[in-house]
């Protein structure tokens, strides 16, 4: 502790001395941390997003539990679930969750190839990374088209 505070004192003195010596203070060299270093999009960025989808999916499992339990509990409980799921926040959560599940699964497939020692070439990593992102968006869109169109015949069926 004593040594540390001494060091601090010396540092501040040192800064003062350099300030008086050189009027235009030169910024100290900085190691490339997150806000400075541009992360390669297809490497660490995708990995970070993958980790975020992991957490989202764990959260989503509790929604899945709610869904299963609501169906068990009866029509009223299921109606409450549907009301929440169809609210604005519910829709955002559901779209985000479906994309998370799809992205996570596609990324895991890419990861399986990495585990087998394949796809480590620089351009392959970039290509498969972009493929995973694009495919996840396309598949999510298709799933939602499926979900939205699956409503129509049923409503027709109810009326007809």
């Amino acid at each position: 502790m004593l040594g540390h505070s001494k060091l601090k004192g010396k540092n501040s003195q040192g800064e003062k001395m350099s300030d008086s010596a050189a009027p235009a203070a030169r910024p100290r060299p900085t190691s490339p941390h997150l806000t400075i270093y541009r992360l390669p999009l297809t490497g660490p960025m995708l990995s970070i997003v993958h980790r975020a989808t992991e957490v989202a999916m764990a959260f989503g499992l509790f929604i899945l539990t709610w869904w299963c339990f609501a169906i068990l509990s009866g029509p009223d409980a299921y109606a409450v679930f549907l009301d929440c799921a169809r609210s604005i926040l519910g829709r955002i959560v559901m779209i985000g969750l479906s994309w998370s599940v799809i992205y996570h699964t596609l990324y895991d497939i890419r990861q399986l190839f990495f585990d087998m020692g394949k796809g480590f070439e620089k351009h392959t990593i970039a290509q498969t990374g972009i493929m995973v992102v694009l495919a996840s968006i396309i598949v999510t869109a298709l799933v939602w088209v499926l979900a939205c169109t699956s409503v129509a015949p049923q409503i027709g069926g109810v009326h007809g």
């Binding site: 699964t105 895991d108 799933v143």
Partner: protein
């Protein structure tokens, strides 16, 4: 009391691995592979059920094949998520006490949620 002069590292050195280190990794990979068909099936099924009334959804779950596949999917997803969340906690929580607390809380809630989900599907399937 026998005094141990050797350090823990010294005692462990030369004994080889415990042969258990790869267990979680392997389990993670197996659930990943199983998740590919199961999640594909579940996502399409749930998308098709999204607009359906309660009776249709419940009837879907009472079918034996659906119930078995759904229970497998639920179990597989929970095992996968348990390992994932364990990794997240180990990576980001340095404090030993908070880490243990977070681990216990998370694992307990995942086990509880898994049990509720499986029981619900099981009970619906049995009618």
């Amino acid at each position: 009391m026998a005094r141990q002069l050797k350090s823990p590292l010294g005692r462990a050195r030369g004994m080889g691995s415990a042969h258990e280190g790869s267990h979680h990794w392997w389990q993670h990979k197996m659930t990943t592979v199983a998740n590919i068909p199961l999640v594909t099936w579940a996502v399409i099924s749930i998308a098709l059920l999204a607009g359906q009334p309660y009776e249709v959804v419940r009837a879907w779950m009472t079918s034996p094949l659906t119930a078995v596949l759904l229970m497998l999917t639920i179990f597989n997803l929970f095992v996968h998520a348990k390992i994932d969340m364990q990794l997240v906690i180990e990576d980001y929580i340095a404090n030993k006490a908070i880490r243990l607390g977070a681990m216990l809380f998370l694992q307990a809630s995942l086990v509880l949620a898994c049990a509720i989900s499986l029981f619900s599907v099981f009970k619906i399937a049995l009618g």
